[in-house]
């Protein structure tokens, strides 16, 4: 009986530790190009933070504001014209979309686009709370990504 408890405790600890390992990884080497799955980017706090930095630097707010949308659609809700999974967001950024979303494939590296996609995922709080970024050291446009309510299940819209 006590052995079962010990095993349970050990596996909880192990999973907590593994989670920490993944969250805190700072991988400075560029991965080989064309990595099919960018899933791990949305479990890595450093990548999400870099994505946020790039979101500001590339002036994505110019069309998307800080997630609330403007000329471009909102990014913090659960409606995704082209799909809200990270691979789909990556595709949207990489290739651009009709009606004004520029293609970034020649403007940013793949790794950077994955990072931005991971950050965009955090806007609707699809990321774990401990991975999503905290508030900016700047004027506030809304709650920090880690404190937002998780947007409900993604509702795919039909592309225009």
């Amino acid at each position: 009986m006590s052995f079962a408890y010990a095993k349970a405790a050990a596996s909880i600890m192990a999973s907590l530790l593994l989670v920490a390992c993944e969250r805190e990884q700072r991988d400075f080497q560029t991965p080989s190009s064309g990595s099919p799955s960018g899933d791990h980017y949305q479990r890595d706090a450093y990548d999400v933070a870099q994505g946020k930095r790039l979101f500001n630097w590339m002036n994505c707010s110019g069309c998307h504001s800080h997630g609330g949308g403007g000329m471009g659609p909102a990014l913090m809700d659960n409606r995704w014209i082209y799909g809200g999974k990270i691979q789909q967001i990556y595709q949207s950024i990489h290739d651009g979309r009709r009606n004004g979303m520029p293609a970034w494939k020649h403007r940013m590296t793949d790794q950077q686009i994955w990072q931005v996609a991971a950050y965009v995922r955090s806007m609707g709080r699809y990321l774990r709370k401990d991975v999503a970024p905290g508030r900016d050291d700047a004027m506030q446009s809304g709650k920090a990504e880690s404190r937002r309510e998780r947007a409900s299940a993604i509702v795919p819209s039909t592309p225009p």
Binding site: R23, Q25, F28, A45, Y46, R135, D136, D137, A138, S146
Partner: protein, 635 residues
């Protein structure tokens, strides 16, 4: 006093019977349960010291890796991310997990013995503080081992440690570790103050208190006033990071400088938490090894108190280059210089005592000499950095690194090592080997100076702090290599110490009660002390009671011999006031520490943990304070 039929007083028993009885009443069974429930200050003190030395080892290993990385230019042993974690862990461990706790805990062990009482004032709080400290330290190092060690420096400036640039959970672990260690430190400070004020042996008036006890008392008061500042600032940091407050957000009305003010308001006094008890150790060693009463007792006490007050007026000297108004900064130059005066008085009084002394040049005194030589270098480089204009050149360079290592290692670790050689016989009943002690001293002296003196020059040559590497063309390689070699020798000296301790524990020369023929009360107890410390509480009529009464000490009678009991005395004159029960062993402090620790750990991830955790903490505290079990409640 009402006399119940069944009670037994110590006047009814002879020494042998009394001693056996009290040892049974106060003793800790050598079982696991005994270990977990003990409230004996000596048990807790010893494990506290061992834990602090363990953290010294971990922090020291971090430093060894840093020195190996810096030993040659453009080195690739360690990358920037790991290096940043290493120097942050080194600083945080040394300051929060080693230096302050070990000074507090030496006091926890020795103060009751030195003032002639049987335990500290709040024994269960003492146990609680140890467990909280242990959990906090383990949490921080566990975080480091899963790549979540803090990486923003031991003083964690914002915005680098803030929500935007302090990525992940690393700085949260740092900030919460502060909460654990400050909770633990405040608890011990409260115990020491009350113990020293209210539990002294009859006749030990305020001017007969040993200087070590004065140092512990002044430190405890400083802790009381300074630690809340860092608890507040670390809580604000966690709130900024977790909940999105704006304490340090300049764009929404906050300020990064607020962090620096709050942190350094604590941070400067903190270095005195480390230094002042060390001066207490020096003041304990010198009379024993010069066979003289300390010269200038009153001046020394006033210096301790003066340093304690002045230390609170210096903190802006850590912020001289932040762009604060120069007039204000200049005030802090004056106050930072002024704090050298009480330290100077202490040194003059010590040398005056040594001057006519009948010196016994044994290891503890060697370390005192090493302390004076090294600490004065550190103090003088401190006078230099206290000057605003000089600081504009040397701030945040290796010059400052050299300065604070000279005052912390020279000014605190050397006395600590001397104290270890001095009190080891009391703790364990065996002497440390004198020859190994000399090796220990000389290796430490040479290694330390080789490691840290070149850093003064490196700082002036332009080498900033906290750099994981440097280019070869700067010409810093030679001195860095020298420093690394010195550090290795310094590490070697600690290995000699460990060897000495292990050998002595096995087969060291048996020490008697008072192998040094010192004068203070702890040497009247056996070596190691019996669980009750003193079977009969001594009466004191002199600063050095054992020198005044070398054969037998006068004692007081009439205490109960069938319960844990301590004597409460008045604050100034130490006339006996009340007989007070002292708590039995109990598991509640451990439970309370556990639930507090889990609550604090969980609150790194969600603020709701405070709410959920309040219930178990409340239950634990209720169990702890549930009345009953004291004989005086029943009579």
């Amino acid at each position: 006093m009402t006399k119940c039929a069944s009670e037994i007083r110590d006047t009814a028993l002879d020494d042998g019977a009394l001693s056996a009885r009290l040892a049974h009443i106060w003793g800790t069974p050598k079982t696991f349960w005994g270990f977990m429930t003990t409230v004996d200050h000596k048990e807790i003190g010893r494990r506290y010291i061992v834990t602090a030395l363990f953290f010294l080892l971990l922090g020291g290993l971090a430093a060894v890796v840093m020195r190996l990385q810096l030993g040659s230019p453009d080195n690739k042993l360690v990358g920037p991310d790991l290096y940043n974690q290493l120097f942050t862990m080194h600083g945080s461990t040394m300051m929060f997990l080693f230096a302050v706790p070990i000074m507090e805990t030496i006091a926890v062990y020795l103060v009751p013995l030195m003032i002639g009482t049987r335990n500290v004032a709040f024994p269960r709080l003492n146990a609680f503080s140890y467990w909280v400290y242990l959990f906090g330290g383990l949490m921080l190092w566990a975080a480091f081992f899963v790549n979540t060690g803090p990486d923003a420096g031991w003083f964690s400036y914002v915005p680098l440690a803030g929500p935007q640039y302090g990525i992940g959970k690393r700085s949260d672990f740092w900030a919460q570790m502060i909460t654990y260690t400050e909770l633990s430190g405040l608890a011990v400070a409260v115990e020491i103050i009350v113990t020293v004020f209210k539990m002294r042996a009859p006749g030990m008036t305020l001017d007969r208190i040993p200087l070590f006890v004065w140092a512990a008392l002044v430190t405890a008061f400083m802790i009381l006033f300074a630690m809340p500042a860092v608890m507040v600032s670390s809580t604000m940091l966690i709130l900024d990071r977790l909940v999105g407050t704006h304490f340090f957000n300049w764009a929404e009305g906050g300020d990064s400088l607020l962090w620096q003010h709050l942190f350094w308001f604590f941070g400067h006094p903190e270095v005195y938490f480390i230094f002042i008890p060390a001066t207490g150790i020096v003041s304990a060693i010198i009379p024993a090894f010069t066979r003289r009463r300390m010269f200038g007792y009153v001046a020394l006490v006033l210096s301790l108190i003066g340093t304690g007050f002045l230390a609170f007026g210096l903190w802006v000297h850590h912020m001289f280059v932040t762009g604060l108004p120069r007039l204000g900064e200049s005030f802090f130059t004056a106050s930072s210089m002024a704090v050298a005066i009480p330290s100077g008085i202490q040194i003059f009084c010590w040398i005056a005592t040594l001057w006519d002394g009948k010196l016994r040049l044994r290891t503890p005194l060697l370390f005192v000499f090493g302390f004076i030589v090294n600490f004065v270098i550190g103090g003088l480089s401190g006078v230099m950095v206290a000057s605003v204009p000089i600081d504009t050149q040397v701030h945040d360079t290796y010059f400052v690194v050299a300065h604070f290592h000279y005052v912390l290692i020279g000014g605190a670790v050397f006395p600590l090592l001397g104290g270890i050689y001095y009190w080891f016989p009391k703790f364990y009943g065996r002497m440390l080997n004198e020859r190994l002690g000399r090796w220990n001293f000389w290796l430490a002296m040479i290694g330390f100076n080789l490691a840290f003196f070149p850093m003064h020059i490196l700082g002036l040559m332009g080498m900033p702090r906290r750099v994981y590497t440097y280019p070869a063309e700067m010409g810093w390689g030679g001195l860095n290599l020298l420093s690394t070699v010195g550090a290795s020798i310094f590490v070697l000296s600690f290995l000699v110490l460990v060897l000495n301790i292990i050998r002595s524990l096995r087969s060291g020369e048996i020490a008697g009660d008072n192998p040094w023929d010192a004068g203070t009360l702890e040497w009247a107890a056996t070596s190691p002390p019996e669980p009750q410390n003193f079977s009969r509480i001594p009466v004191v009529t002199d600063r050095e009671p054992l020198w005044q009464n070398p054969e037998t000490l006068p004692v007081i009678g009439g205490m109960h011999a069938d319960r844990r009991e301590i004597l409460v005395s008045t604050l100034v004159e130490a006339t006996p006031e009340v007989l007070e029960s002292s708590p039995q062993a109990t598991i509640w402090p451990f439970i309370a520490a556990m639930v507090t620790s889990v609550t604090l750990l969980a609150s790194i991830f969600t603020p709701w943990a405070i709410v959920w955790g309040a219930l178990p903490v409340g239950i634990a505290l209720t169990g702890w304070f549930w009345p009953g079990g004291e004989k005086e409640d029943e009579s």
